[in-house]
């Protein structure tokens, strides 16, 4: 079972905090601009921060950043694509995440510019899961999806947690979704991160 531990983590104006996430989904909520995305970016070591993140007691600052980022899979709120074709962004290995996310096998041949926002988001989730991260940091992964796709993504992530015992930090504004998914909930208020009741 993988464990993600944040020790005295501090980003910009947020107060330092400690959190330990095991094989569970921890939801993070808070007003827009409160720093939710910053926390995920700090854990992925994309921005400067104080404090330390550990994955299975391996210290982020002592691990090669390329390897660390593969371990803690971050899904940004908006997906980015740099090749013309969808398939060029994927590893040439077989997995069934596309199917689980209701994307046809032929979607790898699609042109990125012709994909809808929702399709791009589901493709981005499949692209991330394919790398088999040991933890998931999801920044509003279902914000641009229709109700059916939201359910599908939630199921896929829950199954991933069950199958690989990974810790998940899921940023969400949607209280109903938080109730459906969260084992624990943290909220950012007045620059402070506190655990609240589900």
């Amino acid at each position: 079972m993988a464990t993600l531990r944040l020790e005295q983590l501090q980003v910009q104006i947020l107060k330092p905090f400690n959190v330990k996430v095991t094989s569970e989904i921890v939801c993070l909520s808070g007003a827009s601009g409160s720093g939710k995305s910053l926390i995920l970016r700090a854990i992925a070591d994309l921005i400067e921060h104080e404090g330390e993140a550990y994955l299975d007691e391996k210290k982020c600052s002592e691990i090669n950043p390329v390897l660390w980022r593969k371990w803690v899979g971050l899904l940004p709120a908006e997906s980015a694509w740099w090749h013309d074709q969808v398939g060029d962004h994927f590893q040439p290995v077989k997995d069934d995440y596309l199917d689980k996310l209701n994307l046809p096998a032929g979607s790898l041949d699609w042109e990125v510019s012709r994909c809808s926002t929702g399709e791009k988001q589901r493709l981005a989730i499949a692209r991330l899961l394919q790398l088999k991260p040991k933890a998931l940091l999801l920044d509003e992964p279902t914000a641009s999806l229709d109700a059916e796709s939201v359910k599908r993504v939630e199921t896929v992530i829950k199954n991933y947690v069950d199958e690989f015992n990974v810790p998940v930090i899921w940023v969400s504004h949607d209280n109903e979704q938080i109730k459906r998914l969260a084992h624990r909930v943290f909220k950012i208020q007045n620059n402070e991160i506190k655990e609240v009741k589900v």
Binding site: A44, P65, P76
Partner: protein, 263 residues
Amino acid sequence: MNVISLSPIDLTMAALLVVALAFISFILKLGLTNRIIIAAIRTVLQLLLIGLVLKALFAHVSLLWVSALSVLMLLIAGREVMARQQRRFGGVWGYGLGTLSMFVSSFALTVYALIVIVGTDPWYTPQYAIPLLGMMLGNTMTGVALALDKLTTTAWQQRAIIEARLILGQDWRTAIADITRDSVRIGMIPMINAMAAAGLVSLPGMMTGQILSGTDPVEAVKYQILIMFLITAGTGFSAILATWIGARHLFDDRQRLRLERLS
């Protein structure tokens, strides 16, 4: 063949053309009138000054003075490179990056050309050293400025893509590889085009100058070929070096994209 000396009146007649251009630019509201006039005045003053400096240098061949003028030319070229970038590195990097790249490649290639190819004695004979270095710096300056400008503006625009690539486990080199490749290409293409068009579309300035001053055209062509090769190599090496160092400096030791290093 005797050189026909140009009188101040001859130059004034040429200047009238620039004045006419400035006037038309004013009528058309291009907003370039002042810049045309100031640039023209700068050309006259700067060239007159360098003419006097070269005259003095040629009269007293000294490594110290040749080096001093070379360093001055390099520093001015470094400043030009910095000024031509929309988003440049802050602090000493803004100035140092282009200057260092030009120093490494332009100086090294000029010294190589003087010692190994032309074989002047002494190798720093100013009549050869200064014009060669001037042409090298003038062209590498453009190449480095274009390459760095492309690098920094594209990195700024494509921040989300670079970070997405880092997130998916790419190292900094791979995450920015497309941008560095494009930047080097942009820096090198003007020189490659100039080589391809030389003699067909355009008669390069140095060769034209030599022919006007009475040199045998075949000799002038040989020097022009030498210069074109040196400039192309110099521009290419400087653009590659500046882009590589610049790209590395866009990331910190934890391979985080640090766009705040750009001003």
